[in-house]
Amino acid sequence: MNGFLSMGGYGGYVWPAYALTFLVLAALGVATVSGLRRKQKTLELLQSSVRSARRRRDDAPASGPGETA
């Protein structure tokens, strides 16, 4: 096990390379997924507020002559 960790004396180069690659790729994945979730949530909120605004406008009694909903 010690031999595996020391990587023939090059553990100080091999392990940081693997650790950094894992960290960067994982961080990119987390940022991608959280960004997607945030935008999907914003979009849903916006769509529901647009729908309810439209419904309010359509339900409101036509005021003024000649105006159609």
Partner: protein, 239 residues
């Protein structure tokens, strides 16, 4: 081609591909890691530092691949005004930048014990550093205009002009004397690398590529949602 310009069709296609690309990423990276760190042999000259190759080479390939994808998507966006092409180019840039960054850092960690230096200003290393700057410039230019479409157009032109760097990187080891070793996998007469190392290298490459596809699809989905948000905000203001 405009069949795929339809975001609804794209979203359906992306959702069909994503489970497969995620599964391929997990399987290939798990197998590749064990293979690269445990079962593959140490090099007779380079010892265990050769294990850095299983990260460095796929990262370099993906850095170039993502840039090529970005340049092609930018060309399609500029010529045919394809709405999804702009989003694909924009989604590819940060992923490619990360791979290029990892290629440079792992290369440095490999260069120190083998060449005795973290960095040399030779053709291969310098052209790879320029690739990273092209990615960063592309992303900075996108956000540099008040009108996102103008930023996107300027960035697309930069992506196309910068594409000249891609063949320079590929052939830099043949055109100039360098510390960097010449091509040993994609070359005339077949790969000059032992199967015991070539196979884990290819497995890691599949893992990196599958991860790129996964991230690209997720990021395009986010861009599609963002475009819808902007359109809705505009109708809220004007409608």
């Amino acid at each position: 081609m405009h069949r795929f310009a339809n975001p609804t069709r794209f979203l359906r296609l992306a959702d069909a591909i994503l489970p497969w690309s995620i599964a391929a990423t997990v399987l290939a990276l798990a197998a590749g890691l064990v293979w690269a760190l445990v079962f593959s042999p140490a090099d007779y000259q380079q010892g265990d530092t050769v294990r850095i190759m299983y990260l460095h080479v796929p990262a370099a390939w993906m850095g170039l691949f993502a840039y090529t994808a970005m340049a092609v998507a930018s060309a399609v966006a500029l010529i045919w005004k394809h709405p999804l092409a702009d989003l694909a180019a924009k989604a590819s840039a940060p992923v490619g930048a990360c791979f290029t960054f990892l290629c440079l850092v792992t290369g440095s960690l490999w260069g120190k014990p083998m060449w005795g230096t973290w960095w040399v200003w030779d053709a291969r290393l310098t052209s790879m550093l320029i690739l990273l700057f092209l990615y960063l410039g592309y992303m900075a230019l996108q956000g540099a205009f008040d009108d996102p479409q103008r930023g996107q157009k300027a960035a697309a032109v930069l992506a196309l002009v910068g594409f000249v760097n891609v063949p320079i990187i590929k052939f830099s080891v043949d055109w100039w004397n360098t510390l960097h070793q010449p091509a040993s996998v994609v070359k005339m007469g077949g790969p000059a690398i032992d199967p015991a190392m070539l196979v884990p290298l290819l497995v890691m490459t599949i893992g990196f590529k599958a991860y790129y596809v996964t991230l690209l699809l997720l990021r395009i989905k986010a861009e599609v949602a963002d475009a819808k948000i902007r359109a809705l905000r505009l109708t809220e203001i004007h409608g």
